[in-house]
Amino acid sequence: MSNVWSNLGDWITERTPGMLPMYRKHMTEYYAPKNFNLWYYFGSLALLVLVAQIITGIFLTMNYNPSAAGAFDSVQYIMRDVEWGWLIRYMHSTGASLFFIVVFLHMFRGIIYGSFKRPRELVWLLGMLIFLVLMAEAFMGYVLPWGNMSFWGAKVIISLFGTIPVIGTHLVEWIMGDFLPGDATLNRFFALHVVALPIVLLLLVVLHIAALHEVGSNNPDGVDVKHGVKGNRWSPLAPADGIPFHPYYTVKDLVGVGFLLLIAAFIIFFAPTLGGWFLEPDNSIAANNLVTPAQIKPVWYFSPFYAIVRMVPSFMDTAVWGVIAMFGSIFVLFAMPWLDRSPVKSIRYRGRGYKIALTVFVIAFLGLCAVGTDTTAEVIPAWFGDVDVTFWENLFGRLMTLLYFGFFVFLWAYTYFGWETTKPVPDRVTTHD
């Protein structure tokens, strides 16, 4: 049996001599630092969720009907008449939310360990592009079931472009292909969601990983492993603190996969709507342009950005500032490698000011989540009784918006003017499991 396999291997190698070196370069001879911790699971998990979304998505398209007249019914057809259709749909809907959880944590890892810094700026930029495309992909996917929140969510989000001076109104009609979200909108969103954007996503992911493997992985100590001491038990030329990605990190990532699947399965089988957070009740009502949902709000993963739109007041007779601020809140992340100028990468060896600012940033992000999901609108009257909810919500939300952007301003000033007192960075990685 083993002879058959090795013969097959030889047969392939003879015909594609580049295959084995590529496999070695990216797997068995890709030396990753041995001190990866919990934060380093989320990259491979993001890849897992992407593949799961593509596979479940393919099966959904087999029974989904992308038309305003048939979309909502076809989702119920999948839920009731298609064999295992409910499981496929819940995997896809749960996967969408888990994708964002995993990607948010993956991005946060990059921030705290300075993984975006030289020489990995391109890895970060490609990752940010993935995030941007992922948001477009998720938004369009949310419209496809054609529930009432799909319809009104699409209307509100597309209308954001209407705030752009002069061309706004025309732009909105051009995007929707109609005066309201309708058949034309649904058809183009379907095409973009299942064909165009997934191809772009896959291409960007390949480039993201290729760019990473060119410069090597960062690690929780922010130590440059690749250009440090050489020689380990696998190769005298390999980094001393590096270990082959396969099998060591593949088996380790398998543990992470198990945990993610456990969480996913719990949600899919026992709480697929997660109390209205992953699947919203208003989307169980078919799209209806005459009935507005009591509260139009995006799914939780867009909430911090949507909160910024809501919190930035109109000025000079236009609401475009909120839209600029929302896109700004994402684009400012692209600039991270040039805003954070500290020579020290890892939070472990950075100044106290950085740690405090980062904590404030996390609080601001979660605070904006609370505003965007209307949690503050429920909590404020519950905790403080008969008060002016709008006033306090605006005050809180605007403070959080200022703190969100303030983090980047502070980070630049703090590192540009040399106010940070860092600790000495060790030559070799410290702890590992």
Binding site: G258, L262, A271, L274, G275, G276, P281
Partner: protein, 253 residues
Amino acid sequence: MTKRQGLLRYFVLAALMCALGFASMAQAAEEGGFPSAGTNLRDQASLQRGARLFFNYCVGCHSLKYMRYSRIGEDLGLTEAEVMTNLNFTGAKYGEPVVSAMPADLAVTWFGKDPPDLSLEVEAKGADWVNAYLNSFYLDPSVPLGWNNTVLPNAAMPFPLWELQGMQRAVMAPGKDGQPGTVEKLELAQPGKLTPAQFQQATRDLTNFLEYASEPAALQRHRYGVWVLLFLAAFTLLAYALKREYWKDVHEA
């Protein structure tokens, strides 16, 4: 970091994420402020009683267009003959969906609006809302059909279960500063065929059936879920053991 600490970290993370999930669900459960409907999809007898109530009192006006008679039979443990004689009064075939016999245009003339399809009512409004709605009808001479509802004020539906519950009357609290009064509570003006406790059980059964109808897959989810979780737990443990075995090299290196 020791191995034990490493494992502990995984469990802390898993526990945190579960806690987050439960917290969000608990919050969602509190939201509407309605008392718990107390439905239980595993109670097949309750689902059968609920189905009987639905087909006796509701299907005259409301459809369950996404629900087939055959599926109801399979899931509720009823034979084709039982479904066709006890539940199907429209002459539909066994494999066809539950569609009300009422013509939509006439419904608009009679009630002012087309009675909504109830296939997804519980998913859209929640079981607690539906149950509270069914218990909150009262006589109100000021509205055209004579019935009003405290959960959905000015509901277009005249109370179809009145012969079971009897008729409730509103006890009004006087309005402040010339405002119209508000309903303080409902009291039974004329008893029906069922005692209040029996009626509550009946609406619970009906809500239970509608909850089932909004997502028949829930029965399958619960059946398979435990086994999937057990399998994944075993897989994760195995993966962890494998990781430890492989990583002995790293510790020696």
